[in-house]
């Protein structure tokens, strides 16, 4: 998951390095560091904004490590899902237990159906639905869609997923 964190450093040498060390030691991926040297707080400390990716179970270790070093943590904002995707379904979506279809994704723990729009033109005609899925990472999104396709096959639903090159083009 991606974590954005505001911390405060004392104005003595080596503080920034000390703040970043636990992130790298716990195999986090540092995305940005903004060091506001000119914006000193009333306490005389220097505000720093960190953004990094880390496995969810390691975040507490980072927090403790920073606290042990006497670094003040002002705010932690974790964003668990930062991959958003959309897929369409066509077929007898409701009659093939829509709750079960959604649950299969939600139960993975790494992806969730966050929005559903359903269009049912007439009884006995195929319905269409657009699903928005949030997932922990790109890879997890791919697994979630693969899982959805598996269920859809059993229920004779057509899954329409986005093209692959959205990210690169």
């Amino acid at each position: 998951m991606r974590v954005s964190m505001d911390i405060e450093l004392k104005d003595i040498p080596g503080q920034l390095l000390q703040a970043l060390r636990p992130v790298s030691e716990l195999k986090g991926n540092l995305i940005s560091v903004v060091h506001h040297h000119e914006k000193r707080t009333p306490r005389g400390t220097i505000p720093v904004q960190l953004v990094f990716e880390i496995k969810p179970d390691k975040l507490n270790d980072i927090v403790s490590s920073l606290e042990e070093s006497g670094i003040g943590i002002v705010r932690i904002d974790e964003k668990r899902f930062f991959e958003h995707g959309a897929v369409l379904l066509i077929g007898h979506i409701v009659h093939t237990d829509i709750q079960d279809t959604i649950d299969t994704i939600d139960k993975t723990g790494y992806a969730e159906v966050v929005d559903l729009n359903l269009s049912m033109p007439k009884i006995n005609m195929a319905s269409s639905a657009s699903l928005k899925i949030d997932a922990v990472s790109k890879e997890h999104m791919e697994s979630a869609i693969a899982l959805l396709k598996e269920i859809a096959k059993k229920k004779d639903l057509l899954v329409i997923e986005p093209i692959k090159s959205i990210g690169v083009a």
């Binding site: 066509i90 269009s119 319905s127 269409s128 639905a129 657009s130 093209i163 090159s165």
Partner: protein
């Protein structure tokens, strides 16, 4: 001036397009030192042969008025076997079950050491490896740009123009009929059946549309791409295919609300060959409308390169054939 003796085997829309293009571009071709002398033309029933060059305008006129190209009974295969010439332009209709007469024509051409330029997908989608081997054994040159994407350059783009790049993925719209139907369904909020009927009335879809709408035509083109660009030895049985017949106008509307259009997308890379309806962001280069084709070639050095153009049509397909003919003999 270099004279190349040519046979045109198959005189439907594409064969006639080739004849027209050769007439229109005669002066241009002379300027680059090429004289394509058509010594034989065959359709499915008749043929016309003249060692000094067939009068193409007369053949076109006769095909228009009488439905035949000439009075001789020599078949295309016999022409390729017995008439002395350099290049066979093979434009017979595609048959993807057996490869059809096209396969026999191409093999006979290679057996006799003749070069082949073709627009016929069937033989290439069925027997790619065999054909390439036969062309090498005969010392023949073999070009088939027109089989994928009509006028839109894809094979020569990937293999020649982008030489030095590693191609990691190709995806795009390779069937104008499907693109037309999906585009119109979205515009009119109409059902698949209605827009198929419209496409048939306008001549964009065949009476039996299966081959286009079930994604088989796209699959054949992907097989050729997979073999020619990715060096695979695939046949159309290696392609996972989903067509467009189940797409609903409601699905197109829902997609539009999320900022997408639905297109029948063909995709080839090292790990898969796949045809399926996909969501394409409205502002993405692959989101072309009408009956256009489009291909995005993903390369290691240049990133994505996208081309779009008319995927079918008599003169458009003939343009791809002409460019293959020129590229063989220009040097």
């Amino acid at each position: 001036m270099r004279t190349i003796r040519v046979s045109v085997i198959g005189f439907g829309a594409v064969g006639q397009g080739v004849a027209r293009v050769l007439i229109d571009k005669k002066e241009y071709l002379e300027n680059i030192g090429l004289d394509f002398r058509v010594v034989a033309v065959a359709d499915s029933r008749t043929s016309t042969i003249d060692e000094n060059g067939v009068d193409l305008s007369a053949v076109l006129a006769r095909k228009q008025s009488e439905g035949v190209v000439g009075s001789e009974k020599l078949t295309g295969l016999e022409i390729i076997e017995t008439i002395d010439h350099d290049l066979v332009v093979e434009t017979t209709p595609t048959n993807i079950i057996t490869g059809g007469v096209g396969l026999q024509n191409m093999l006979m051409a290679f057996k006799n050491g003749r070069d082949v330029v073709t627009s016929n997908k069937g033989p290439l989608a069925m027997k790619y490896g065999e054909l390439i081997e036969a062309s090498k054994a005969g010392g023949s040159r073999f070009r088939f740009e027109a089989t994928v994407g009509g006028a839109m350059p894809v094979l020569n783009l990937a293999n020649d123009v982008l030489a030095g790049n590693i191609i990691t993925n190709v995806e795009g719209i390779f069937n104008g009929t499907c693109n037309y139907i999906l585009t119109r369904m979205m515009e009119e909020h109409a059902s698949y059946e209605q827009m198929l009927a419209e496409a048939q009335e306008l001549g964009f879809a065949e009476t039996d549309p299966t081959y286009d709408v079930e994604g088989i035509d796209t699959a054949c083109k992907l097989v050729i791409l997979a073999n020619c660009v990715f060096g695979m030895n695939a046949t159309h049985e290696d392609v996972t295919i989903t067509g467009i017949t189940k797409i609903t106008p409601e699905a197109l509307l829902l997609a539009q609300n999320e900022g997408y259009v639905i297109k029948l997308i063909g995709e080839v890379n090292d790990s898969r060959i796949n045809v399926a309806p996909k969501l394409v962001p409205i502002d993405h280069p692959l989101a072309v409308g009408g009956s256009l084709n489009v291909a995005s070639v993903q390369t290691d050095l240049s990133g994505p390169i996208t081309v779009t153009g008319r995927g079918a049509g008599s003169i458009e397909t003939a343009s791809a054939i002409l460019s293959d003919m020129i590229s063989i003999y220009r040097d």
